[in-house]
C-alpha cells in the first residue's frame, strides 16, 4: 500500500522535472568538464555536486579552487550568492510545514529549479503532497549529480580546447540577470548591485573587491530601505 503511494508520487513528480533534467544535464556537464580542465577528478566534482547542490555557488567556487586558499571568503561569497534562498524559504514556510522527517532534506535540496516547480505545482488528487515534493527534490538533485559526473568523465576522456569555457558562468549570470530584469519593474536593487560592484572594482581592484561590494550593497539597501520598499518589489 505504502509502496504504491510512493510510486504514484514519483510518477506524478517526474513529468514536472523534465525541463530540469535537460537543464541540469547541460549545466552539470559543463561544470564537470570545467572542473576536470582545472585538474579536479570526477569524484571531486561528484562530491561537490552532491553536498553543495547549488549550481551558481559551485561555478563561482571554481575560482576559489584555483587561487589562494581562503575558506572565509568562500563562505561569505556563498552566503551572498545564495541569499536568494532566504526568499524561497520565506515563500514556502506554509507548504513545507507538515512534511515531518522529510523536511530537512526538502530544505537542503531547495535549489532555484525545485523552488520554481514546487511553487507553481500542486500534486494531482490522491497523491501525497510531501512525497510529491520529495521526489521533485530528489530527481532534481540526482540530475545535477549525474550531469556533473558525466561532464567529469567526458572531460577526462576526450581532450578538446576548453579555452573560453569558463564563460559559461558569465553567460549563466547574464541570463539570470536578464530574466530578473524582465520580471521586475523596480530595477533599483539591480542597478545598486552593478554600481556598487563597479565602484569597488575600480577602487579595490579585481582580486579584492567582492567583500567591499557586499558591504556597500548591504549598507545602501539598508539605508534606502524605506525608499526601495515603497515601490512594489515583487
Amino acid at each position: 500500500m505504502k509502496k504504491n503511494n510512493l510510486k504514484r508520487a514519483l510518477k506524478a513528480a517526474f513529468p514536472h522535472t523534465i525541463p530540469v533534467l535537460t537543464g541540469f544535464t547541460f549545466l552539470g556537464i559543463a561544470y564537470g568538464v570545467l572542473m576536470s580542465s582545472k585538474g579536479y577528478g570526477v569524484w571531486w566534482t561528484a562530491l561537490a555536486s552532491f553536498l553543495v547542490f547549488a549550481g551558481s555557488a559551485q561555478y563561482i567556487a571554481i575560482t576559489f579552487l584555483t587561487s589562494v586558499f581562503n575558506p572565509i571568503y568562500a563562505l561569505l561569497m556563498t552566503l551572498m550568492i545564495n541569499a536568494r534562498h532566504l526568499f524561497y524559504g520565506i515563500s514556502l514556510l506554509d507548504k513545507y510545514k507538515n512534511t515531518g522527517k522529510l523536511k530537512p532534506y526538502l530544505i537542503f535540496g531547495l535549489c532555484d529549479e525545485t523552488f520554481s516547480i514546487v511553487c507553481s505545482t500542486e500534486p494531482p488528487p490522491g497523491v501525497n503532497r510531501k512525497w510529491f515534493i520529495f521526489f521533485i527534490t530528489l530527481l532534481d538533485h540526482s540530475y545535477w549529480v549525474l550531469g556533473s559526473i558525466l561532464g567529469g568523465l567526458l572531460g577526462s576522456m576526450i581532450s578538446f580546447n576548453t579555452q573560453g569555457l569558463d564563460f559559461v558562468l558569465t553567460a549563466l549570470f547574464v541570463v539570470i540577470f536578464l530574466g530578473q530584469w524582465k520580471a521586475q519593474k523596480n530595477h533599483k536593487p539591480a542597478i545598486i548591485g552593478i554600481l556598487c560592484s563597479i565602484g569597488c572594482l575600480i577602487v579595490f581592484g579585481p582580486s579584492n573587491f567582492i567583500i567591499p561590494s557586499m558591504a556597500a550593497i548591504l549598507v545602501i539597501l539598508t539605508v534606502f530601505r524605506k525608499n526601495l520598499a515603497k515601490e512594489e518589489v515583487k
Binding site: 535537460t22 537543464g23 547541460f26 549545466l27 559543463a30 582545472k38 585538474g39 561537490a48 553536498l51 553543495v52 547542490f53 547549488a54 555557488a57 559551485q58 579552487l65 587561487s67 586558499f69 563562505l75 561569505l76 556563498t78 551572498m80 550568492i81 545564495n82 541569499a83 536568494r84 532566504l86 526568499f87 524559504g89 520565506i90 530544505i107 537542503f108 580546447n161 579555452q163 573560453g164 564563460f167 559559461v168 558569465t170 553567460a171 549570470f173 547574464v174 541570463v175 539570470i176 540577470f177 536578464l178 530574466g179 530578473q180 530595477h187 536593487p189 539591480a190 542597478i191 552593478i194 556598487c196 560592484s197 563597479i198 579585481p206 550593497i217 539597501l221 526601495l228 520598499a229 515583487k234
Partner: protein, 110 residues
C-alpha cells in the same frame, strides 16, 4: 589542482555550510510563523537582484580596455546573449550559444 586535497575539501564544506545556512535560515527564524520580520523579508526581496548584478561584474572583473582582445570577446558575446535571449527567451539556448560564440572568438579571432 592548485589547492591540496584537504584544502579543496574544506572549500567544499564551506560552500555546503553557506548553502545550508541560506536554505535553512528562514525555516529556523520563522518556525513560529511570525512572517513579519520585515527586514529579512525585505532583504530576501531585494538582495537577489543586487547579488546577481554583482556576480555579473565579478565574472567580468578581468576585463580591461588596454587592447580589444581584453574586452571585445566579452562585449560581443554578451550583446549576442542579450539579443538572443530577448528573441527566443530560452535560458539554455542563450547560455550554450553565448558560450560557443565566446569560445570561438577567444580561440580563433582574438
Amino acid at each position: 589542482m592548485t589547492l591540496t586535497a584537504g584544502q579543496t575539501f574544506i572549500i567544499i564544506c564551506m560552500l555546503t555550510l553557506g548553502t545550508v545556512i541560506t536554505r535553512f535560515l528562514p525555516f529556523i527564524l520563522f518556525h513560529n510563523n511570525k512572517k513579519n520580520s520585515s527586514y529579512i523579508t525585505y532583504l530576501g526581496k531585494v538582495l537577489p537582484y543586487a547579488s546577481i548584478a554583482m556576480l555579473v561584474v565579478y565574472c567580468l572583473r578581468e576585463v580591461n580596455f588596454t587592447s580589444p582582445a581584453n574586452y571585445a570577446p566579452e562585449a560581443i558575446a554578451i550583446i549576442f546573449i542579450v539579443l538572443l535571449h530577448h528573441w527566443k527567451n530560452n535560458a539554455l539556448l542563450s547560455i550554450g550559444a553565448g558560450t560557443a560564440v565566446y569560445m570561438f572568438l577567444v580561440q580563433t579571432v582574438f
